[in-house]
């Protein structure tokens, strides 16, 4: 990140300075060009001036030459004329030729000067005239003395005059040239003087610019150096990072096709850094055979799309180990227009293995999560059905979290406010606030709260009864929290109030019943006993003197009184079965049946009855009630035995499981003792099998079989007291089987 920033900073700086440099460079270039142009022009001017000077000198020289040639030819002529020696004619001819040459030269030299040309032309005329004179002499007969010729004299004079003319003409021309020379000289001097000043000043400016540019450059260089150091550092860092994070980098120049690997990329392949030539083929050697096609595609992609998205493949390192790699590359275009794909290749083998582990862990988590979700959903439904809400108090943050239903219980939309104790207190019934406050304090100090019952006023204004239980809980990460459940127990509360009221009523009823029992046992028994006693008194003392009619009626009174006694006794026994203390203890039913047989021995004997029983179990029960149960059942069988047929009673027991006995309507695996009392008595229609257990219910007339219809009702009561069941199966004239189920207790 830091590197990136410094790089962009450098870029900007570089950019700025390069523009600056360009400006300075351009200015310097222009200045130099300007200096060059000026200098060139000045030098040109100077050379022109010197050329002109030279020209002037040449012209002057040539004019001097011309004059000397003319003089030479004059001299030669004179010599010839004087000596008449033709030897002198030779130099004359040479001089004349030279004069001509000189003229030609001068003509050339002064070609650009009209005035000099004119002067030259007039000079030529004069010289010509002079030569006309001289040539006259040369062709003269040498024997004639022309000196004596008048014409000659006149001509001589004339030619001397012409010579003067030539001279003056020449001088005139020299003068003109000299004036030119002067003019040019002054111009030349002027230029010679200006040029260095201009050149120097421009040079000076250029120097200044260069110094400034140098200063700027030095500054830039410093900056560049600093940037370079940063770059070096980051390069070093990235080098370390490569080793540490097991990644290597590569560059693929798309223009040249050159591929470069970082040191660590070689290490990833398991070879010494830079020990191989980087390239597609080199790399392919290490690619896992199954992934070769994949990697080829990757290479194609790099070239084609100039980009490489995340790609995964395997290699086989030089040491033969299979490693998982991941590559990514991006196109980078530098300022030179080089298109390079810069890439990173990471060894993700460890990560891959971790990932595999993570994936399997994740699968487990997903599964667990799924189960949790199901559980969560079902608990949500349970909360709604069970009218309870749950909450969590986090001890780290002291924040509450409510379940949706907890909000609903308060009459609010789920998660409609931030749950806090203060917020909760707003709902709590004013009279119950102290309960919640105390519980909260206890939760914060001791991390425990007692089960609390309090009322709240719901948003709809209804008062509801809440019950809260909570427990502190430490989760797997060691965070402590209190998890609580709050239930709306209003209905239960109402029911319990109802129940209490009913209980009160019931208690009152029982009290009344007890009082009735008291009345029955004492106040009813007492007059009856007296009636019976009086009857016995009359029977003893007055029977003899009574009429038959009186005796008959007295006997009926006695019977009715006796029956009343039986009824009252049975009734008392029945009510005592309900009321008596139920002291459960181990009861050996073998002992019980023996006692019952003992008790009924007279009865059994009278009827020649037989009671068979195999080994009976020991059960948990109330001893005297069991006794009564067995006695009642036995006596019932004896009572309803067939006339003239000896009663046979078989008693047998077995251990059973509730679900196997359809009559119990119980699918549980609860175990019972099943005890059958089977007789060969008169039996009854099966339809009465339930009726016979009702109080005071009788299937037979009182006169046929004595009984109050309480005995079997007592039996049923006793069995029910023992959480058991009693059923009767019967067929008229065949017999009855009473089946008792008593819970199996070990």
């Amino acid at each position: 990140m830091l590197n990136k920033i410094s790089v962009t900073y450098m870029k900007e700086n570089k950019h700025k300075s390069s523009v600056f440099h360009k400006i300075i460079f351009t200015i310097s270039l222009f200045v130099l060009l300007f200096i060059g142009a000026i200098t060139f022009k000045h030098i040109n001017n100077i050379s022109d001036s010197s050329k002109l000077l030279m020209h002037t000198y040449e012209v002057n020289l040539e004019l001097e030459h011309l004059f000397s040639y003319i003089k030479d030819s004059e001299n030669s002529m004179r010599g010839y004329l004087i000596s008449k020696d033709t030897l002198y004619l030779e130099p004359y001819n040479t001089a004349t030729k030279n004069v001509n040459n000189s003229f030609l030269l001068l003509k050339k030299l002064t070609a650009d000067n009209k005035k000099q040309q004119e002067n030259l032309a007039s000079l030529y005329k004069i010289v010509n005239r002079r030569y006309e004179y001289m040539s006259d002499y040369s062709e003269q007969d040498l024997r004639i003395d022309i000196t004596r010729n008048r014409n000659f004299k006149k001509n001589f004079k004339e030619s001397s005059k012409l010579l003067v003319d030539i001279r003056s003409k020449l001088n005139e021309m020299v003068d003109i040239e000299e004036s030119y020379l002067k003019q040019r000289n002054s111009k030349y001097k002027n230029q010679i003087y200006l040029t260095p000043i201009l050149t120097l000043s421009i040079l000076f400016i250029t120097l200044l610019l260069i110094i400034f540019a140098y200063y700027q450059t030095t500054k830039d260089v410093e900056k560049l150096q600093a940037a370079n150091i940063e770059l070096n550092k980051s390069q070093f860092l990235s080098y370390q990072a490569e080793i540490l994070s097991e990644f290597g980098t590569w560059e693929w120049n798309l223009n040249s096709g050159v591929i470069q690997y970082s040191d660590n990329l070689y290490r990833i392949l398991g070879v010494e850094p830079q020990s191989l030539e980087a390239g597609q083929d080199t790399f392919m050697k290490y690619v896992h055979p199954e992934d070769i096609e994949k990697v080829n595609l990757i290479f194609e992609k790099i070239v084609k799309e100039e980009n490489l998205p995340y790609s995964y493949f395997r290699i086989i390192r030089s040491d033969g180990e299979e490693r998982y790699l991941r590559s990514i590359g991006k196109l980078f275009i530098d300022k030179l227009g080089n298109r390079t794909v810069l890439g990173v290749t990471v060894d993700i083998t460890d990560e891959h293995h971790k990932n595999e582990l993570l994936i399997s862990n994740n699968n487990d988590l997903v599964k667990a999560n799924n189960e949790l979700k199901i559980f969560d959903e079902s608990s949500k439904q349970a909360e709604i059905l069970g009218k309870y809400g749950s909450w969590i108090l986090n001890y780290d943050t002291y924040k509450f979290t409510y379940s949706d239903n907890k909000f609903r219980l308060l009459g609010c939309e789920p998660q409609s406010f931030d749950p806090t104790i203060e917020k909760l207190l707003e709902f709590v019934h004013p009279e119950d606030k102290h309960i919640v406050i105390e519980a909260n304090e206890s939760a914060l100090t001791t991390m425990e709260i007692p089960t609390m019952n309090y009322r709240i006023i719901r948003t709809d204004g209804k008062i509801r009864h809440f019950k809260t239980i909570a427990k502190s809980f430490t989760d797997l990460r060691g965070r402590k929290s209190m998890i609580g459940t709050t239930q709306d127990v209003t209905e239960d509360y109402n029911k319990s109030i109802q129940l209490k009221q009913r209980n009160k009523e019931l208690e009152l009823n029982i009290k009344e019943l007890n009082e009735f029992n008291h009345v029955a046992s004492h106040d009813l028994q007492e007059p009856l006993r007296k009636i019976q006693t009086f009857i016995s008194r009359i029977n003893d003392k007055e029977k003899e003197s009574m009429s038959d009619f009186g005796k008959e009626y007295l006997s009926r009174i006695e019977k009715a009184a006796n029956r009343m006694r039986v009824l009252i006794n049975d009734l008392l026994q029945y009510s005592r079965t309900n009321r008596s203390e139920k002291k459960f203890e181990k009861v050996d039913l073998n002992e019980i049946i023996n006692n019952s047989i003992q008790e009924l021995s007279q009865n059994i004997e009278d009827k020649n009855g037989v009671v068979n029983f195999s080994s009976l179990p020991e059960i948990n029960g109330v001893n005297f009630q069991m006794q009564q149960l067995f006695t009642n059942l036995l006596s019932n069988s004896l009572k309803y035995s067939k006339e003239n047929i000896a009663p046979i009673i078989d008693i047998y027991s077995e251990k059973i499981v509730a679900k196997n006995e359809s009559i119990l309507h119980d699918n549980s695996s609860k175990k019972y003792w099943k005890i059958d009392f089977k007789d060969n008595g008169i039996g009854f229609e099966q339809e009465f099998s339930e009726k016979i257990f009702q109080l005071f219910n009788r299937l037979h007339g009182k006169t046929e079989y004595q009984g109050t219809g309480v005995g079997l009702a007592i039996c049923k009561k006793i069995v029910e007291n023992h959480s058991g069941f009693i059923f009767a199966y019967s067929k008229p004239n065949i017999g009855t089987t009473f089946t008792i189920y008593l819970p199996f207790n070990t």
């Binding site: 046992s521 028994q525 007492e526 007296k530 019976q532 006693t533 016995s536 008194r537 003893d540 006694r565």
Partner: protein
């Protein structure tokens, strides 16, 4: 016993029962002197009367107005003078509770009033002729209630 007759006192609020009781003894050929009182309070004042010769056996009904049999029994047993008198509980009730209570409080025998005069005679004869010394020594809850 120095007297040749047995002194018997019955405390019972029921007039009929008192009649049966005295009739029964009248018909029995045993030398007894029977006197009756109407309730516990009368019994105690009778016993405390200086001229009274203490009875040999007291028959005590449980259900009595003013002072019932149980409280009366307690008073008698608290008094050193009376505590050695044989006490026969004579009640219509045969509830376990009453039997247990009176046994614990030191009664000597428990009689359930029969509903037949001949039975009554037999019971009273049995009780009066019991050797109290032996009976009291071997007394337990099972033989406390006199069974016919």
């Amino acid at each position: 016993m120095q007297q040749d007759f047995i002194l018997i006192t019955l405390a019972d609020d029921d007039e009929d029962d008192r009649l049966f009781f005295t009739d029964a003894f009248d018909e029995l050929k045993i030398n007894t002197v029977v006197n009756t009182v109407n309730n516990g309070k009368e019994l105690l004042s009778f016993l405390n009367h200086p001229e009274t010769v203490l009875p040999n056996i007291i028959f005590l009904d449980l259900n009595m107005p003013i002072l019932n049999g149980i409280d009366c029994l307690k008073e008698i047993k608290l008094n050193d003078k009376f505590k050695d008198i044989a006490i026969a509980i004579y009640s219509t009730s045969s509830s376990e509770k009453d039997i247990e209570n009176t046994f614990v409080l030191g009664a000597n025998i428990y009689i359930k009033k029969p509903s037949n005069f001949n039975e009554l005679k037999k019971i009273l004869a049995d009780v009066v002729t019991i050797n109290w010394q032996y009976h009291t020594n071997g007394l337990n809850k099972d033989n406390f209630l006199l069974r016919m």
